[in-house]
């Protein structure tokens, strides 16, 4: 049943995502074309047009992940707490299966949007000497710094995945709590998002200071070597994402199971 839910949810998400991804890639090609035009034709008009198209493309890259997140939020609210919820919650599947299927599809959508931004930037800057030499320089700096690139990339990916999952679950929890009220559901969802976000920031800051103080002592905090940080921070971030993610999941689950409030 889980895979069937994922299949149908992916279909629903793809409806919104495909035009978005297609649009971004088309803009990347336009941006590449305009860069080529600026390089080959020296005219104020082509320059202005080129700068305009490239700027629009980079703005669209920034908006891509935000738009995807908003689309996934709307999809969750509609299919779990809106009218579609009458169908979703009368399917012979558990609440956990419903939530996990939504989580997986939202996560894949966010990954896809990151992938599209990366692909778009690569297309837009394909063959642009200054950008390619910048990439080479960056690689040289990394290699010469003695940093274990593979290990750091792996850690960053791990933290990235957990943070994205935790963030999606925080949004789900806020929507679920907000929709458990009889009125002002959207407003209360936004309010609870900020409540959860601020609470998470405060707890994280206190915990981070506590962890570092326990490890290095008050005086040692001033003399921590920067090389110590990635390892400590990595495990701290992993623990924090797993813990908060679990709390958000539990809040979403309990609210959806016990306080479901379909209009």
């Amino acid at each position: 049943m889980f895979l069937k839910l994922v299949k149908h949810e992916s279909h629903a998400a793809a409806r919104a995502m495909v035009p978005l991804l297609g649009g971004l890639l088309a803009m990347a090609i336009l941006a590449r074309g305009s860069i080529w035009m600026m390089e080959s034709v020296e005219s104020p008009v082509t320059s202005m047009l080129g700068v305009f198209l490239v700027s629009i493309f980079f703005l669209a890259c920034g908006a891509m992940v935000v738009t995807t997140t908003i689309l996934m939020m709307v999809r969750f609210a509609k299919s779990v707490h809106g009218d579609e919820g009458y169908l979703t919650h009368t399917l012979p599947v558990s609440v956990s299966t419903i939530l996990l299927s939504r989580l997986l599809v939202s996560f894949l959508a966010v990954l896809l949007s990151f992938g599209a931004v990366y692909a778009g930037v690569r297309i837009a800057t394909l063959g642009v000497d200054s950008i390619e030499s910048l990439g080479v320089s960056f690689r040289v700096i990394i290699e010469n710094s003695g940093i274990e690139t593979k290990s750091i990339l792996l850690k960053l990916c791990c933290v990235g995945v957990l943070s994205i999952l935790s963030m999606i679950l925080m949004i789900y929890a806020a929507i679920s709590i907000g929709h458990s009220f009889p009125t002002g559901k959207t407003g209360k969802s936004v309010l609870f998002f900020f409540v959860l976000y601020i609470a998470a920031q405060i707890i994280t800051s206190i915990a981070l200071v506590g962890v570092l103080t326990a490890e290095y002592g008050f005086d040692g905090l001033r003399t921590i070597e920067t090389n110590d940080f990635p390892s400590s921070l990595f495990w701290f971030t992993v623990g924090q994402s797993v813990l908060f993610g679990s709390v958000y999941y539990f809040l979403t689950w309990i609210t959806t199971k016990k306080r479901l409030n379909l209009a």
Binding site: G85, L87, H89, T90, S94
Partner: protein, 232 residues
């Protein structure tokens, strides 16, 4: 064994008591009218049976089990609202029902849809409100469920559509299954009912067979309902 049992079932929304210690048994093979004015607790009872709400007190059992994954597989529910995503085509909806409900009879659904002239490629957003409601009813009645819970199936549709909906219910339900129809339009459904439950203020006022009302009291269900729920 009753297909639906309520034992001291209560549901409260804040300070509002929607259902108050309801005791009820519905046997298989019966068509039951759940009748009451607006806000009497009809929809709350049906939502509780579907697991869309949690009881404040007492319990509700479907085929001896609390609402959950197992009971949802044997209950076919028609809510008051249109729950179909408007971007979906009829074919996609049929695939959806077929994927999740083992008792869904696709051929029967297609036959009923073609009878109404609805093509499989047609999207929900291209349909009128009445047609959407009919599609939803066809989907619900195309399941070989043990219990059909129909919440206001004829509310807000024209008389011709009402006839179609009622004929669809009568013509398609499994005779060994129970059908619960919640409505306040009694005259329209009276002829098809075996039993009636009068509900008001969260209390069951009467649970009796239609024959008893007609033979012993010499009244129609509609007349009795008007008498009992008279507004002063």
């Amino acid at each position: 064994m009753p297909i639906l049992t309520c034992e001291n079932l209560s549901k409260r929304y804040g300070t509002v008591q929607a259902l108050d210690h309801v005791n009820l048994n519905i046997e298989p093979g019966r068509i039951v009218g759940l009748l009451g004015p607006n806000g009497s607790g009809k929809s709350t009872l049906i939502k509780l049976a579907n697991g869309l709400l949690t009881p404040t007190e007492g319990q509700i059992l479907i085929d001896g089990k609390a609402p959950g994954v197992e009971t949802k597989a044997i209950v076919s529910y028609l809510p008051e609202r249109t729950y179909l995503a408007d971007w979906m085509s009829v074919r996609q909806i049929l695939d959806f029902f077929q994927d999740f409900y083992g008792d869904f009879d696709r051929e029967r659904a297609i036959a009923m849809l073609s009878h109404l002239g609805i093509a499989e490629k047609q999207r929900i957003k291209q349909m009128s409100k009445g047609t959407r409601e009919k599609v939803q009813l066809i989907l619900v009645m195309s399941r070989r469920a043990k219990l059909y819970l129909l919440d206001e199936p004829i509310g807000g549709v024209d008389p011709a559509a009402r006839d179609y909906i009622l004929n669809t219910i009568i013509g398609n339900y499994d005779p060994s299954a129970a059908v619960v129809i919640s409505t306040h339009l009694i005259a329209d459904v009276e002829q098809m009912l075996d039993e009636v439950i009068f509900i008001n203020g969260g209390h069951i006022l009467r649970h009796t067979s239609v024959d008893e009302i007609r033979e012993e009291m010499g009244k129609s269900v509609d007349a009795l309902f008007r008498e009992e729920f008279k507004c002063f």
